[in-house]
Structures are given as structure tokens and as C-alpha cells.
């Protein structure tokens, strides 16, 4: 076996060293494209998945605590905030109040969720302060001021799909009627645009103002939103918060994403899986065809090698090594091409619905899986044709028939 391997290595290395360089370049180029085909589309899909998950940050931070059971509110929000803020992994935390309301501007009325928040705390928690496309974000002293989601404003992305308030401007006044019947007038201070329905169909006002409207005490909230120092520590932080004695339901961002975006993510995953299998089948077929043609072109050499007493195992092993080397070069070229594409699409993201940027996500596990799959396929693709040629009659192989 060792002799077979030594001879196989000589066969492979000499064919590689002294074979036609143009053919080698072509084979490597095609194999590089096969590799890119295996990894690039899933990276884009990963980017889309990450984009959806990132949308969740507006409302849910890294971790969110919600009222337990049928309770409308977390009754001891400040107490929970104290417990949360001492957890080592937690960077910041805030409370919010979400209520249903209808917003009226001129003759147009839309239903919406109003979130009462503590504006200065949100800078450390969510992206709300950073997605103001017109006007300004709220301040801690803001009263009778409102931030309107872009999809409620005519002319913004998505507004054509939903009921909107028409063409409103910063400084315009809207009437908000709450579920308890109270109506208040607010001046529009800003328009926020997150290009995501959970954000852009909502409106924001100061927590203190909403507390007054519903006449609830200081310690009530409909959610506590937490940002951790390192997003990878979300699960760990959640465990510590539970250990600190918080009884209310706690969710990480990914758990919320799973729940809310499950259908979309499952569809994406399905497309992703199908595309991977199709790519793998196409890749396997192409590798087999390339290596098969290559072996057939060397049929005469295989016949000669057999005739002078080289064992079929050495010949088959030689082609398996040769094929694996081709694929290895193809993978290296493919990785280069892949990272160039990643770099290009990171600096020039694909724009989705005019403003959503999709940045591809490097998936190391998939890259390792693809490299392994291609190497395994290459060995099989080298073995099958070489083995079939070694089984042919020597004379016919030498004649190249």
C-alpha cells in the first residue's frame, strides 16, 4: 500500500508539474466557481437572516423581560431594573410602556402601538435614536411631542402598503386617542425609519407622559429592554438575571426572532438548504465530468503504466491525489474569489426595497463543510474514472480507445 502511495504521488505530482498549464488554469477556475457557488449564496442568505434579526433590536435589545401570565404590566419594573443592572454582562437596561392608540391627522386615522420610553436611556439600548430620518429624537423633557414611524407617513418606504396619515411634516400636530378614551395632541418631532414594520408602524413618546395618561405608578412597564456588553453573552446574562430572582418571562433577541420571524426564517432556511443541495449536486457532477475528461485524455498513459507493471491501485491513487490537488487549488482560488466578493458586497451592499442593505455573512462552518465536501467529491471523482480505465484491456487503453 505504501508503495502504491509513493508511486501514486509521483504520478500525481508529475502530471501536475508538467501537465498543460492552460488546462490546469481552466480546471482550477471552474472548480473555484463551483466552490463560490457552494458558499456565496448561503452567505447572502445569512446576511438576509442577520438583517431580519437586527431589526428585532429596535424593540427587543439583546434581552427583553415581559409581564408574566395575563398581566398587562410588569409591576415592579424599577426593582427588576436594579437587579438587572448589577449583572456583570449587562451594559444598560430601560423600561418601556407599550399601548394601543389611534392617531389622527386631518381626516386620516390609523391604529398604532405607542411606545413610551425614557429617551436618554434609549441611546444605550436601541437604535431608535439613530434611525430618525427627519426631525429629532425625543429628549427627557419632551412633552406633547411624538416620533412617528415612517410607514405611517405618505411617501416613505412601505407607506403605500398600510393605512397612513398622509403627507405630514415635522412640526405638524396629530391627535392621539388612547384605549382609555383620553385624547391628546402631539407635535411631530421626528420621523423614524427602520425599514421594518415592527418599528415603522409605531410611534414613540416620553414614558412619563404615557404614565400620566394611564395614571399608573412609576414602577410599571410593559417591557424591560436590556443591552449586554457582548451579544454572544445574551444567554449567559439571561441565566444570571433569572438567578438574580427575576420571575417574569425573559427572552433573548434570537428567541424573539425565532418566535416572530419563524416563518420567514424557515422559508429562508429552506431556500438555503435547497440551494446548498443543488449546488452540491451540480458541483459533484462538474467535478466528476472535469476529472473524467481529464482521465480519459490520459487513457493511453494509464495503459502504459499498467503495461510496465504499475499496480492499478497506484494508478487509481495517483488520480485521486491529482484530483484532490486540482480541487485544493480550486478551493484556494475559490476562497480568494469568495472573500473578494464578500469584500465587494460589504462595501457595496445589495440594496433591498430601496433602503435595506444586505451584507453577506461569512459562515465558517459552511466553508469548512464545503471544503470537506469538495475534497471528498474530488477523491471519488478521481477514483471512479481511473478505476474504470484500469479495468479496461491494456492494449485498448494504450491505443487510447
Amino acid at each position: 500500500m505504501f508503495n502504491d502511495f509513493k508511486v501514486g504521488a509521483v504520478i500525481a505530482s508529475s502530471f501536475l508539474k508538467r501537465g498543460n498549464k492552460k488546462t490546469l488554469a481552466f480546471i482550477v477556475f471552474v472548480l473555484a466557481l463551483i466552490f463560490v457557488n457552494l458558499v456565496f449564496l448561503p452567505s447572502m442568505m445569512g446576511g438576509i437572516g442577520r438583517m431580519f434579526t437586527n431589526f428585532m433590536e429596535y424593540r427587543y435589545g439583546d434581552i427583553i423581560i415581559e409581564p408574566s401570565g395575563d398581566n398587562l404590566y410588569i409591576n415592579n419594573a424599577d426593582n427588576i431594573l436594579q437587579k438587572v443592572r448589577v449583572v456583570q454582562e449587562v451594559r444598560s437596561a430601560t423600561k418601556r410602556l407599550d399601548v394601543g392608540a389611534s392617531i389622527k391627522y386631518k381626516q386620516k386615522i390609523v391604529g398604532s402601538t405607542l411606545t413610551g420610553l425614557l429617551p436618554s436611556e434609549e441611546y444605550e439600548i436601541s437604535n431608535y435614536p439613530y434611525i430618525i430620518s427627519e426631525g429629532e429624537f425625543l429628549g427627557d423633557s419632551s412633552r406633547n411631542e411624538i416620533i412617528i414611524g415612517a410607514m405611517l407617513v405618505e411617501g416613505y418606504f412601505g407607506s403605500e402598503i398600510y393605512d397612513n396619515l398622509g403627507a405630514i411634516n415635522i412640526g405638524s400636530f396629530v391627535n392621539v386617542t388612547y384605549s382609555n378614551g383620553i385624547t391628546r395632541t402631539y407635535k411631530i418631532k421626528g420621523i423614524m425609519e427602520g425599514t421594518f414594520e415592527l418599528t415603522d408602524l409605531n410611534a414613540l413618546i416620553n414614558y412619563e407622559e404615557l404614565k400620566d395618561v394611564f395614571d399608573i405608578d412609576e414602577s410599571k412597564a410593559t417591557s424591560i429592554v436590556i443591552r449586554v456588553k457582548n451579544p454572544d453573552d445574551s444567554a449567559k446574562a439571561k441565566e444570571k438575571i433569572i438567578a438574580a430572582g427575576v420571575k417574569e418571562p425573559i427572552f433573548t433577541k434570537s428567541e424573539k426572532s425565532d418566535a416572530i420571524l419563524r416563518q420567514a426564517m424557515q422559508s429562508l432556511d429552506l431556500v438555503n438548504v435547497i440551494s446548498r443541495y443543488v449546488s452540491l449536486i451540480i458541483g459533484a457532477s462538474l467535478i466528476l465530468i472535469i476529472i473524467y475528461i481529464n482521465v480519459l485524455n490520459r487513457k493511453k498513459e494509464i495503459g502504459i503504466l499498467k503495461a510496465i507493471g504499475i499496480s492499478p491501485n497506484s494508478i487509481v491513487l495517483g488520480y485521486a491525489i491529482l484530483s484532490a490537488l486540482y480541487v485544493l487549488f480550486g478551493i484556494c482560488a475559490g476562497l480568494l474569489l469568495y472573500f473578494l466578493l464578500i469584500f465587494y458586497f460589504t462595501t457595496n451592499p445589495v440594496i433591498f426595497y430601496e433602503s435595506i442593505e444586505i451584507i453577506p455573512e461569512i459562515q465558517w462552518l459552511l466553508i469548512i463543510q464545503s471544503i470537506s465536501a469538495m475534497l471528498i467529491m474530488s477523491v471519488i471523482a478521481g477514483i471512479i474514472p481511473a478505476w474504470s480505465v484500469t479495468k479496461e484491456k491494456m492494449i485498448e487503453a494504450i491505443w487510447g480507445r
Binding site: V7, S14, R18, I304, A307, S311
Partner: protein, 232 residues
């Protein structure tokens, strides 16, 4: 070493026609003989050489070397016998174009279980024997026709075979280059006692050989010894 060929036949089908390439040939070869197999095209020369070289199989008959019956050896043993006991020079050199002269030879030693360094040394020594000691690293494309054929001879004798077969080794060479190759054969035969069986259709080649077997229509029509050949 004694080679015995008894009633060797090779028939094959071409469409509906059965071609009798060899129709029952019998002869013996003694060690150190340099034999020319001659005859017109289609007489069965190459077919016989391929069977003797274990590259093709006979339809019937018996073929033994040193009383070992090679007729029905399994393929793996035939291959091992080809590697270790027989040398074969093809008409069109049959070198691996991607391998250097020395690699074309070295590969046989590696297959035989030798280490890389010893295999390289042996390959070089064999190239020296055929007068190509300075062409180790040349690939076939960088060699002349005569040099290619001498590399092919070197490959065939690298494992010091019991018998060396050569199938029209000068078919693609001019007279001068042919003489160079035949001189190599002569030296191998006279200096090292190498047994050689060579197919040729050139009458002037017979001055190098010790015996001529003539074939016609798959049968031996004459078997003539020319001079005493060197014993191994």
C-alpha cells in the same frame, strides 16, 4: 532460464470474422539469445510479442519461463511478473510525457519497494547504460526520437528483466538513430547477457541478432540461428 512456447494461438473477432493472428506457434528461447521475429504485416509478430510480454492473452497454448506456467496466471501476478521479470519496449516509445527520463524509470523501482534516493540512483545508472547519463531531467518532448527510444529501453531494463521484448523499436527512427538503439541492444546482449526478443521488418537489423524466427499467417515458417550468443 528457458522460455518454452507451445502451440500458442491467438484468435479474435472483428465483426463476424475470426482473425487467426497466431495459429499455433512453438519454440524455445535460451538465456542470452538475441532473437529477431520477422515477417510481413499481419503475420502475427506483434501479437506474439504482446502475449510473451504478458500484455495480451493467448486463446490457447502454453507459455512457460523457467518452468513457471504463465498461461493462466491471475492478473495481479501477471502484473508483478511484468514489473519484476520482463521488460517491454514499445514501437512508439510509450513514455509518460509528463515525467522526466529519470522519473519514467524511477517509478518502476518505487513500485518495486525501493526508496526514493535509491530509485533515483538506479534510474541514473540505467540511463548511463543507454548513453543518456546527462539527460535525467529531460522530459520526452525535450528528447530526440532516438533518445526517447533509449529512455524506453532504459525503462525496460531497469529492473534487470529475465527477458527484454522490443516491438519494432526502430520503426519511427532514421537509419543512423536506429543503429544507435540497436547498438544499445547489442551491448546489453553481449556485455550483460540480456536475452532480447525483438520484432522487426528491417533485414539489416538481423546483423545484430543471433537468431531469426520468421512468421507468416500466424505460423513459424523458419527459425534460424546465425551465431553463438552469449550465455547469461
Amino acid at each position: 532460464m528457458m522460455i518454452n512456447v507451445k502451440n500458442l494461438k491467438r484468435h479474435y473477432k472483428t465483426g463476424q470474422i475470426i482473425v487467426k493472428a497466431l495459429n499455433g506457434v512453438s519454440f524455445n528461447i535460451k538465456p542470452g539469445e538475441f532473437i529477431a521475429i520477422m515477417g510481413p504485416s499481419g503475420s502475427g509478430k506483434t501479437t506474439m510479442l504482446r502475449i510473451l510480454g504478458l500484455i495480451d492473452k493467448q486463446t490457447s497454448g502454453e507459455y512457460t519461463i523457467d518452468k513457471l506456467n504463465l498461461t493462466d496466471l491471475p492478473e495481479e501476478q501477471r502484473r508483478y511478473y511484468r514489473l519484476t521479470q520482463l521488460g517491454y519496449v514499445f514501437q512508439d516509445y510509450a513514455l509518460i510525457n509528463e515525467m522526466s527520463a529519470s522519473e519514467n524509470i524511477k517509478i518502476l523501482s518505487l513500485m518495486g519497494g525501493q526508496g526514493k534516493i535509491k530509485a533515483l540512483k538506479e534510474a541514473h545508472e540505467t540511463l548511463v547504460k543507454v548513453g543518456l547519463g546527462d539527460k535525467d531531467d529531460r522530459v520526452p518532448d525535450q528528447l530526440s526520437g532516438g533518445e526517447k527510444q533509449r529512455v524506453a529501453v532504459a525503462r525496460a531494463i531497469a529492473k534487470t528483466p529475465k527477458i527484454l521484448f522490443a516491438d519494432e523499436p526502430c520503426a519511427n527512427l532514421d537509419t543512423k538513430t536506429s543503429a544507435q538503439v540497436l547498438d544499445v541492444f547489442k551491448t546489453l546482449n553481449e556485455k550483460y547477457g540480456q536475452t532480447i526478443v525483438m520484432v522487426t521488418h528491417e533485414e539489416w537489423h538481423t546483423k545484430y541478432v543471433s537468431r531469426i524466427i520468421r512468421l507468416k499467417d500466424g505460423l513459424i515458417v523458419s527459425d534460424k540461428k546465425l551465431k553463438k550468443s552469449r550465455k547469461k
